[in-house]
Symmetry: C3
Subunit: 249 residues, 3 copies
């Protein structure tokens, strides 16, 4: 256990073994941290809100939360969470294992992501978004939820299926479904569902081709599904499945 004398940590917070809390960080009452969690400097954990309905912030084993981040009470993260700096996650957010959140991401809560999801910097996830497993989301992409803003009781979240990749600066309209293994091109406005294994792009986004039509520049074959050639950071059992399915490059 290594708690900075410059941090302010509630006695009521519950810590696993070998937790580290950085300088000038505030940990509120309603927080449960697993083993080997590192919380860096200038963070706020377990920010109180009545919207949590009393549920705690739960961070699984082995997490690293980088500086200046704010996590509300009432959200739950599987093991292996890693964040960039200045991340915000509000209440009622639920994440599987090994989520990576980029610097400046803003997750509004009341949303759900699966295992091994990676969001790059400055991704905004609105209420009711549902993201599957092994999804990639690139910088400045926004998941909206209100079909006629402002409104009440009409919210529809975006759904992203497993293995999809959504490139930089996309805006996804309320209720669209992004199909498995698809690619949304950069700077797109997605106004309707994206078929599995397809590529869309533009404002509004249109189907451009099948994902398997895109070739790696080195001549080694299709760039998608990306699991064919990109294995960094995934566990061996998952990679073994991918190699069986797509071969070993």
């Amino acid at each position: 256990m290594s708690i900075s004398p410059l941090a302010k940590v509630s006695d009521k917070a519950s810590f696993g073994s070998n937790v580290t809390i950085g300088d000038f960080t505030v940990v509120h009452d309603n927080v449960i941290l697993g083993d080997n969690v590192v919380v860096e400097s200038h963070c706020v954990l377990g920010y109180p809100t009545p919207l949590s309905e009393g549920t705690p912030l739960v961070i699984g084993d082995g997490a690293r939360i980088r500086s200046h981040s704010v996590f509300y009470e009432g959200s739950i993260f599987g093991p292996g969470l890693v964040t960039g700096h200045r991340v915000t996650v509000r209440e009622k957010f639920k994440a599987g294992k090994n989520l990576q959140i980029g610097t400046l991401c803003d997750f509004q809560g009341h949303a759900e992501v699966g295992d091994y999801v990676r969001t790059h910097s400055n991704v905004h996830i609105g209420h009711k978004t549902v993201i599957g497993n092994c999804v990639w989301i690139f910088p400045f992409t926004v998941f909206t939820n209100d079909p006629h803003p402002p409104s009440d009781g009409h919210m529809k979240g975006v759904v992203v299926e497993d293995y999809a990749a959504i490139a930089t600066m996309c805006c996804l309209m309320p209720g669209v479904r992004v199909g498995t293994r698809s690619l949304v091109g950069a700077h797109s406005l997605v106004t309707k569902d994206v078929e599995p294994d397809s590529v869309v792009g533009g404002v509004p986004a249109k189907k451009l081709c099948m994902a398997s039509d895109i070739q790696l520049k080195d001549g080694s074959g299709p760039a998608y599904p990306w699991m064919r050639h990109f294995h960094r950071g995934y566990p061996k059992d998952l990679i073994d499945v991918w190699i069986t399915e797509y071969g070993n490059r």
Copy 2:
């Protein structure tokens, strides 16, 4: 009065009754806070700048400023201000009552907003922007001001009239006027004036229809003007006017 012993607060700052200052927050000299203001942790208030010309930061009664926010001296806010986390507001910004500012918003100062304005996350307001009353601005929208960047002395601010709604990830070009009760669709580049009560969208934005043509999904009638069906957070006297004008759904 509740001032954290971990905060650093100038003796010269002026506080109303029942003010709360959070941990690790810095309050500089030239600050005037009203009654019942809450400033959370890790903030900087009254950041000194010669561009303020000596004028103070004035925050009206009942404000809540969330963590990691920075407010410069020389700006003034009516009562009821509420902010998200990591908000920046520079000097010479003037706001009416009940402004809500989302997480990560970046207001450059030398701009003005009316009463009951709501900006969602990560909105960027450039110098010379003028925003009316009861306006909605959604995430990642930017108000520009320089018609041929970089230049000096050619700046023209965007003007947004009362009750307009500007959706996610829009870019508004210098000097455009967004008419009252209009809707700017998501991911639009607004290069010319938007007519009152109209809907525009695209890059560049074109007129798509009248706002009243858009129907609520539940079959209960037009989605705009939004005051027909959306009342959350507004005062009774304003809602009563809306009900008289649009009926009570």
Copy 3:
């Protein structure tokens, strides 16, 4: 020397004369600050990472780093650096003199910029980006690097030549080259090279005209190259060259 008693500063960091360190700031071991450097409150300097390969964070004379910023070890900045608030710069970033970085910028490291570069708020610079001298980059612009995300070993950085200006909310695709003295219009997706002295815009961006075709609104002649009329903040020797080349307005 003025080090806040509320800061946490490593004995191993090396400071020039007249350095100022603000409240609640953390300075790690592997940091070298020049003369007259001001680091404001709530910052983290020299954030440790093995990716720095042991190289220090070096900040040249006269820098001002505004509050809540994070600089990793392993990057180097010439004299005269000025930043906004909440800037992030990761390892292996190399900058010339007089760089100005706007609030909320997120520089991923492994990139290089020349002298007198100005980035406005919320600019995201990916690995392998190379930016020349006297370049302007406006808010929410993103420099990407992965032609088929996610991939490994296929990264290609964007190249921006001297005196180019890239307007608000642009997305630059991997490997594109933005030619000298060109202008990229707001909200553009740049998918191919931009010719020197040209103007492009749109999604995807197309050539619109030559930069010299754009006239200042006051009738005083072409708006580009901007060095004709915009001199604020540049040194006299550079301005003298510009006046010789373009005349003195």
